[in-house]
Structure formats: structure tokens, C-alpha cells
Amino acid sequence: MFSIWPDIDSLILSFEQYAGFGPTRPVGLANYRALFDYSAFWTEVGNTLFYWVAHAVIVIPLAFITALLLRSKLIRGSKFWKPLLFLPQVMSVVAVSLVWQTMFSTQYGVVNSVFGTHVAWLTDYDVARWIVVLLLVWQGLGFWFVVFLAGLTAVDPAIIEAAIVDGAGAVRRTFSVIVPLMRRVLLFAVIIDAIGSVSLYTQPNVLLAGSGMANPSVSTLSNLEVGNLESGVFGQSAAAGWLLFVLTIVVTAVVFGGNWLLGGRSSEGNRVIRRKTGAPRVGEGSAGGAGRARP
């Protein structure tokens, strides 16, 4: 198939030496070995994982809380807030990264000039990595917020009402009823977000280096791949590309593993969720799960 062939082609390339022209030469595992021996490889793998974890632990809960706020009676006019919060999603990623570059630039940046500070937000790498995280949170919030809002809308109001009748307060309602019911959506969000994060490329590069490539101490594994490709080292580039896929699988497995560990304790909730969300586009208004949702 069209979408699988280039992956296979890359796999073959990763065991060969190829300069983009002329013959290819099989080299076995040499490309992989070369990557493992290269210290920047491990730094970039570490950065890739850092960007994923650091932004996910902020953006997923924050988006969830925002969605809860909008569903709650505390807030009016959700039609007004929703598009404004979603706005970062429809802004060009490159454009946004460039705007952030001007906001956080050391000498002339908006942030430093407003606060009268002189922090090297983007050039001190220990700080810069957090600005990348902040950018990822800023961008992802609207997306996951809309996903969670859709998920919350599908939660049967009868269940919530039953919990209120039982005397469950807002916090308890959230953790004992809504979170278990939203479990599938949350798990899905964490996984999709993780898969996307592993192949992060645009934001750290454009924010920290414009049209160039960010320094290995703040860049991701994708940079190693693209860098090798652009200098005509196809074999190592393909090896890096496949390692990226392996990393995706590992990360997904970790998320599933974590979910399984947490899930052991609340099989009751899971059963309700399967009943509620298993069948697509039905269930609104049916009170079937209400009795079971009681913690």
C-alpha cells in the first residue's frame, strides 16, 4: 500500500549506506550502532520524552478542568468562550512560534520589556525547554478542551443527578463519577497526544532557531533524522526514523500499562463506561447506568 511502502523502504535503508545517489551498500546494524554511540542521540531522546511528559501532565488536566468549568453552572455563555479558547488551534504553527520568539527574546522581547527583566528565555537552554513546553500547552489546550467538552456532553445527566441526590459534593462527583465515565476519552487523549509528541519537530526548531535547527540540547529526535537526511546520510536518517517509531510504540505501551495499573482498582467504573460509550451516538437520556455509577 501507498502508506506502508515508504516505511519498509526506510527500514531497508536503515541497514544500508546510501548517499542519495549511486549504489547502496549493506552495512548491517552499523547505522543503529553509530546512533547509539552518538551522545546527542541520547540527549535528543531525553528531550523528546521531556517535552511529551512535561506538557502532557499540564495540558490534559488543565483542558479537562476547563471543560468541566464550562459544563458547570458556574459559567455562563459557553458558546462565547469555546471558540476563543480553541483559537490557538487554528493559528499557523510556524507563525505562532515566530510570535513567541519575539515575545520571549532576551533583548527586545515583550516579556522582558514589560517586567523589566533580562532573562535569556530562549537562549538559556534550561529555560528555553520550558518555553517550548509552555507553547505546547498553549496550543494543545483548546483542542483537548473541545474533545473533553464533547465527551462530557455525552455523559448521561441522570448519572450526575443520581450522584447529587446521593449527596456527593462537586469534587467527589468529579473524581468518583465523571472521571471514571470519561476514562476512555482521557486515555485516548493521552495516547494521541503522546504519539504526536514523539514526532515533535516544528515548535522547538522555529521557536528557538527560526529557519535553522535548534541546538541538540533542546531539540528532539526528529532533528537528528532530518539533519542526517539533509546531509545525505540516508542510512542513519532512516535508522533514526525507525527508532522514532519504536519510541512511539514504547510510549504508547507505557500509557497503556499505566492505565492498566490504575484500572485494576475500578473495574466497576469501567463496566459502566463500556456500557455508556461502547455504543456510538446513543445513550443520551437513558438512565441505564445511573444505579451503577455510585462509587
Partner: protein, 291 residues
């Protein structure tokens, strides 16, 4: 909530205390939302303001309003050939969206409603590719396309994106809500498969295809890694790739921030306009992720 309410806290009856608490929570909720909204919107506003400052003014007067207001940045933008890049973005994103929506609809219908050998297996393989990042295929694609001299062309930016697995998947899911009898009836009336697709299926699919179209356009417009590697020459490169390259030709690496901000506006405003017009489609498309 006023000070009076706070003072009453001690001896207030339970109902009033509850009302006070709800009020405070509401206030806090609004505070959080307002903060998040300001953060969401501010970069767009800054973009607009900075694009009217001119290159040197962006540096010396980064936080304030333009003084004087000038459209020099937009002139400079045009002289950097940004209109060509904008056209490239439009062409690539537009054609890919049309093609991808067409193919997603047909393929989703085939996988959802037609019976053919190996259907489940092929679909499983296709779904498996969602897990594979584009980076994995990149060197393979590059090596292959270099052989047909497709590097730095329009087609290399379009053809590989014509069959989005996500699109095929959501169309297939959506078709589960369409009863088979609906299609059988048309088939009994003697309609050909092709006719059934266009006359019966497409009208049903319209909302999801529209949602898919806006999301596909957005994704293509934002594509950066692919065109940066595959099509970075000025003639065919999209705006996303050329924008960060607008630097001072004399000093070299110093970015021309005014020009870039004007370019950012050019890159962002069309999407924001589409978003304002088709807001519900975006939201609905994204919300499919919750199912």
C-alpha cells in the same frame, strides 16, 4: 461577591453560606477562563500590532502600540515574494483537501459498507499506520521521490497526503449509523454502486466530509517538516517554510520581525476567517476524537 458577604461568613445560615461559596467559585472560574482566553488571543493581537510597526520598531518598541503606524512591513513582505508562497500554500492545501475528502469518502464507504476479501485485514494495516510517525517514512519517501525527480515540486507536497487514514476511519465509523437497508433499497431499485455512492451515501456523509475538509485544510496549511525537507525552494515552498527565512540580507541571520509579523498575519488570518465562518465544523471534527 462583596465584602459584606465575607463579613457575614461566620454567622451566616447554611443556605447563604452555600450561595456565597458558589459565588466565589463562580468568580474564580471566570478568572481562570478570562486568563486563559487572554493568553489564547494575545499572540494574534500582538501579531497584528507588530505587523504595523516596521522591522526596526518591533525591536525597540516591542510591547507598545505602533508609533508611527506603517505598512512598510507589508511592502517588504511582498518584495520577499511572500505572495508566491501564499499562493503555493493555498494551492497545495486546497488541492490536497479536495482529493483527500474525495478519497476518504470513497474508501470509507468501501471499508464500511462493501464486502470484499481481506477487508478487515487491509483496514487493520491501514489503522496501524496511524501509529507510525511521518518521520519514519521520510527517508524512504525522499529516496524514492528523488528517483522520479519529484523533490521541490508541487506534487510531492500533495500526492502523499491524498489518503488520510484518519479520514477513512471516521467516514467508516460514521457509516455504521446508516442502516444497510437504506443502501439495499437503492440497490434493489437497480442503481449502480457508483450511483448509490453519489446519490445515497454522499448526502448522508456531507456533514462529516465538511468537517474533514476543514481539518485537512488546517493540517496541510500547517505542514512544516515535510515541505521543509521535500520542497524548500522559493518557487514551490509554502508560506510556513519561507516565513522564518525572512532575514536581513546584509546582517544575515537577524530576522526581519516586522516583515515576519506581516507574514504571520498572512499565514494566520485566512485560517481564522475560515474558522469564524465554519466554527461548528471545526468543533465537530475535533469532537469525533471523543467517540
Amino acid at each position: 461577591m462583596s465584602e459584606a458577604a465575607v463579613l457575614q461568613r461566620g454567622g451566616a445560615p447554611p443556605a447563604e453560606w452555600a450561595r456565597w461559596r458558589t459565588g466565589a467559585a463562580s468568580l474564580l472560574a471566570y478568572g481562570v477562563l478570562i486568563a486563559l482566553t487572554v493568553a489564547s488571543v494575545y499572540p494574534l493581537v500582538l501579531m497584528g500590532i507588530d505587523s504595523l510597526k516596521g522591522d526596526s520598531q518591533v525591536a525597540v518598541n516591542s510591547a507598545g502600540l505602533p508609533h508611527p503606524w506603517t505598512i512598510a512591513s507589508y511592502r517588504s513582505l511582498i518584495s520577499h515574494g511572500a505572495l508566491r508562497s501564499f499562493g503555493n500554500s493555498l494551492l497545495v492545501a486546497g488541492l490536497t483537501t479536495l482529493g483527500a475528502v474525495f478519497i476518504s469518502g470513497l474508501a470509507g464507504y468501501s471499508f464500511g459498507k462493501l464486502r470484499f476479501p481481506g477487508r478487515t485485514l487491509i483496514f487493520a494495516c491501514l489503522l496501524g499506520t496511524i501509529m507510525v510517525p511521518i518521520q519514519t517514512a521520510l527517508p524512504g519517501f525522499y529516496a524514492e521521490f528523488a528517483r522520479f525527480h519529484w523533490i521541490d515540486t508541487y506534487q510531492i507536497q500533495i500526492v502523499p497526503f491524498l489518503a488520510p487514514v484518519f479520514g477513512v476511519f471516521i467516514v467508516r465509523q460514521y457509516l455504521y449509523s446508516v442502516p444497510d437497508e437504506f443502501i439495499e433499497a437503492a440497490r434493489l431499485d437497480g442503481a449502480s454502486e457508483w450511483r448509490i455512492y453519489w446519490r445515497v451515501i454522499v448526502p448522508v456523509l456531507r456533514p462529516i466530509l465538511a468537517a474533514l475538509a476543514v481539518l485537512e485544510f488546517l493540517a496541510m496549511w500547517n505542514n512544516y517538516l515535510w515541505p521543509q525537507v521535500m520542497a524548500s525552494t522559493q518557487n514551490v515552498a509554502p508560506l510556513a517554510v519561507t516565513l522564518p527565512t525572512y532575514t536581513n540580507s546584509v546582517i544575515g541571520i537577524i530576522p526581519l520581525y516586522g516583515t515576519i509579523m506581516a507574514g504571520n498575519i498572512l499565514a494566520t488570518v485566512p485560517l481564522v476567517l475560515i474558522f469564524i465562518k465554519y466554527q461548528d465544523l471545526f468543533m465537530r471534527g475535533v469532537a469525533y476524537n471523543a467517540e
